[in-house]
């Protein structure tokens, strides 16, 4: 039982996961039983009743209403059991416990950002405490996305015109993948994120600590971390290839032609402006799709990114 579970299903990271898995296991074994039955009987008939004469004459038979009713009623009962069971778990998946902490989730092309009541923000990484119900209040800035954490067995579409809600309570610490599961364009398959589940005390520390480089970390290294964490790498390459946005390789000091025909040299102010108000000046030949990071990135984060971009020479 446990080996089939681990073959089919990811680790059980939330309180609801074991319930969902139990029902999955129930349907799995019932299905396997009937499937083996159907296949075995079919094969047996094919061998036992192989055609023996040229004409293949068969005998008449009596229709059996009792048989028909049997194989209508038994599956119906089984299906109703499955329905009720699934319905109960679904209700549990949808009723948010009263003592939940609330985190605002925003989906946009092509990254997730998270806002805490305490003022902390995160991009691509959702940090939560273990053993604490977390309510996610979700919305989208552009098209429909869908927030999926396989280890928690939760998924909910994220819509542009209303809030949707889901919740979970993590049962173990560690890092778990977040996927976008509603097709949203070019970067859909890289709209990944991580749920980082921390022990409660570490989480409290994380919430209080400001951002900025860690101990012994240079601004450049910090910027490199921000580059990945904030999903800049989804659209900007480091190897000179053209992606959704211009490459960061050799960007600093480069002369770029803007969409309005003017030419500028990339400096600290231009990078800062492009992060905070990306529509102001755009390099010609690229679609205006860069989202603003106003309110998401702090000054120290931007400083780190600038230091990192400066280091990326040709």
């Amino acid at each position: 039982m446990d080996t089939t579970r681990s073959l089919f299903l990811p680790p059980q990271g939330s309180t609801v996961a074991s319930d969902v898995d139990a029902l999955f296991g129930f349907i799995f074994w019932i299905s396997l039983f009937f499937f083996v039955g159907v296949t075995a009987i079919t094969v047996y008939f094919c061998i036992k009743y192989k055609r023996k004469s040229e004409t293949g004459q068969t005998t008449p038979y009596v229709e059996s209403l009792a048989l028909e009713i049997t194989w209508i009623v038994i599956p119906t009962i089984l299906l109703m059991v499955i329905f009720v069971w699934g319905f109960q778990d679904f209700v549990r998946l949808h009723i948010v416990p009263a003592n939940s902490m609330e985190i605002k989730v925003t989906g946009q092309k092509w990254f997730w950002s998270f806002n805490y009541d305490e003022g902390a923000t995160g991009v691509g990484e959702l940090v939560v405490p273990v053993g604490q119900p977390v309510k996610l209040l979700m919305s989208s800035k552009d098209v429909i996305h869908s927030f999926f954490v396989p280890a928690f067995r939760i998924k909910m579409d994220v819509l542009p015109n209303r809030y949707t809600i889901t919740w979970f309570e993590a049962t173990m610490t560690g890092e778990f993948e977040i996927y976008c599961t509603e097709f949203c364009g070019k970067g859909h398959s890289e709209m990944w994120g991580t749920v980082k589940v921390l022990p409660k005390d570490e989480f409290a520390k994380w919430l209080e600590a400001g951002s900025g480089p860690g101990e012994g970390e240079s601004m450049k290294e910090y910027g490199a971390r921000m580059f990945v964490k904030n999903a800049c790498n989804t659209c900007h390459s480091l190897d000179g290839s053209k992606n959704v946005g211009p490459t960061f390789q050799g960007l600093f000091g480069r002369r770029e032609v803007m969409s309005d025909g003017t030419t500028i040299t990339v400096d600290e102010n231009y990078i800062r402006e492009s992060i905070l108000s990306p529509m102001a000046k755009q390099v010609v030949g690229y679609d205006p799709v860069m989202p603003t990071y106003q309110g998401i990135l702090k000054d120290v984060d931007i400083d780190g990114l600038i230091a990192y971009i400066k280091s990326l020479e040709n």
């Binding site: 990811p10 159907v38 119906t76 499955i82 949203c184 364009g185 970067g187």
Partner: protein, 542 residues
């Protein structure tokens, strides 16, 4: 017994390309459809192979993410709108159904030809879209993405819209034909089950497709004119589009599977030489599926933000679609009991259907269950379930039907050895491709992903090998079937000793199907009363 091809038949009664393009003969129109639909199948298959090739590695092999998104969208759109929806009704329904009920043609032959031309126009729009920017919305066209993307959404929507009309007219034609043109004395319960299935399908085509038409028209107007009804920026609701879309597209999956079930009923009865068990249960379960199919569209939207109450009701109703499908499978098995089973190629396809469709059905129960669907929605589990039903179900049935009626259509038999090899290749290749996708899905691999985490690479690679095996299998089928048209041995009027009426005509049939009015001499499955001979009108009644 040596057979010969009759001197005059529908294929040679008139010659020249004009006699084909202006034909009103349902059999020739069936063949016109066969050419177009099978070409679409080939095209969709090429896209499928490209996708599987790209997915061997999470990095770029052939194409970037934008190309990949177009490739999977085109694979879906071509396979669904151009191949699988028209496939069985338009090819085999057109060719066989009037013969089965003893009619000389469908009720409205001109409308029938017009349906084909409308299909061709739709096909042209799809090809036009392919060359003018492609399409990257997936076959589901979800708003607001489909409203924003810069690809050729309008031509492809026009294509689907136009193809919808072709489907409506075919359905309308078949309903009237089955109601009004049955041979004198043929009651509803003497109809072959394939005809029942085609009838149930036609009802869905007529009732559901207009809603798709208006939905696609609204989406086009949204894009072109900006009417604001699906656009959240203007007070519209993008989820409303999903409701409209699935109101058609869920019944549409029964347009795809029901005729396949009809073919399987014919194959099981013929190759077991046994009266079909539970005739009325199989017939009414088709209507039951057609009816229930209209009430379950919301099960595509359990995590879309629709109300929880709606989700619960849709889940409840979904389980009732499972029951008629189960009835069919069990009745087919009961038909084989004490039969006289001959494992000719069409029967091998039918057995493949039985096994693969069962897996598709069981995984459908998993997905219909509310709590589990939250986890599995939009993962590879759904992809695999859908392919088990559509390829494991419908495509097995199409090829079973084509192999079964090929000698009737062309008067000649294909190479049985090659045909058996092909069944095995497809069966093995299919399972290699798709079974592993169930596991990827439950592990959390989302669908429509160009790239993926390294932990899935082994399974993706395995799946791609299966796709290659299937590709070889279908290529082989194409070769020996076309070869059979020209060089096959004459098959005789009734090579399978079947009792339905199409086998009472010579192979290939004459232009007007029957000489004079066709009379009913026995039921379609009277294998316990009649010994069918492989010759015209030589039945001994016991």
């Amino acid at each position: 017994m040596e057979h010969t091809i009759p001197e005059k038949h529908y294929l040679n009664e008139a010659t020249g390309w004009k006699s084909w393009l202006m034909t009103l003969d349902h059999k020739r129109i069936g063949i016109l459809y066969m050419i177009m639909v099978m070409f679409s199948f080939f095209l969709g298959g090429v896209f499928a192979l490209l996708l599987r090739w790209e997915l061997i590695s999470p990095d770029k092999i052939l194409m970037g993410p934008e190309m990949y998104n177009q490739a999977f969208s085109l694979h879906g759109i071509i396979m669904i709108f151009l191949f699988i929806i028209p496939s069985i009704p338009a090819i085999l329904g057109n060719f066989v159904m009037p013969l089965m009920i003893g009619a000389k043609d469908v009720a409205f032959p001109r409308l029938n030809l017009a349906s084909w031309y409308i299909y061709v126009i739709g096909f042209c729009f799809a090809v036009y879209a392919l060359f003018t920017g492609g399409i990257d919305t997936g076959w589901t066209f979800y708003t607001p993405y489909s409203n924003e993307t810069t690809t050729a959404v309008i031509p492809i929507l026009t294509a689907a819209f136009v193809l919808g009309f072709s489907s409506i007219f075919t359905g309308l034609n078949f309903i009237v034909t089955i109601h009004k043109l049955r041979a004198p004395g043929m009651t509803w319960f003497q109809l072959p089950l394939f005809v029942w299935a085609i009838y149930a399908t036609a009802l869905i085509q007529v009732l559901a497709t207009p809603v798709l038409g208006i939905t696609l028209a609204l989406l086009m107007l949204e894009r072109v004119v900006g009417i604001g009804i699906f656009d959240p920026a203007m007070g519209g609701d993008p989820v409303l589009f999903q409701h409209f879309f699935w109101f058609y597209s869920h019944p549409a999956v029964y347009i795809m599977i029901l005729p396949g079930m009809g073919i399987i009923s014919e194959l099981i009865a013929t190759f077991s030489h046994r009266r079909i068990f539970g005739y009325k249960f199989i017939a009414f379960s088709s209507l039951g599926i057609a009816f229930t199919g209209f009430l379950v569209w919301g099960h595509h939207m359990f995590v879309s933000g629709q109300s929880d109450l709606a989700a619960v009701i849709f889940s409840f109703l979904t389980f009732f679609v499972g029951i008629p499908s189960g009835i069919k499978i069990l009745n087919w098995m009961a038909t084989m009991y004490k039969g006289s089973i001959s494992l000719d190629t069409p029967m091998l396809w039918a057995l493949s259907f039985l096994i693969l469709f069962s897996i598709g059905g069981f995984t459908g129960i998993v997905l219909g269950t509310l709590s589990i669907d939250v986890h599995l929605h939009d993962t590879y589990f759904v992809v695999s379930h859908f392919h088990y039903v559509m390829v494991g179900g419908t495509v097995m049935a199409i090829f079973g039907g084509l192999h079964y009626w090929w000698p009737k259509i062309w008067g000649r038999m294909y190479n049985e050895t090659l045909a058996r090899i092909a069944v095995v290749l497809i069966f093995v290749g299919f399972n290699v491709t798709f079974f592993v996708q169930f596991i990827m899905g439950t592990q959390g691999m989302p669908r429509r992903y160009y790239t993926y985490l390294p932990q899935f690479q082994g399974m993706h690679g395995f799946s791609s090998i299966g796709a290659l095996i299937m590709g070889v299998g279908f290529l082989l089928i194409g070769i020996y079937l076309i070869h059979a048209i020209f060089k096959g041995k004459p098959a005789g009027p009734n090579p399978w000793r079947a009792l339905t009426m199409e086998w009472e005509t010579p192979s290939p049939p004459r232009a007007g199907n029957f000489e004079g009015a066709q009379r009913l001499t026995h039921g379609p499955y009277d294998y316990d009363k009649v010994v069918p001979e492989n010759a015209l009108k030589q039945y001994k009644t016991l």
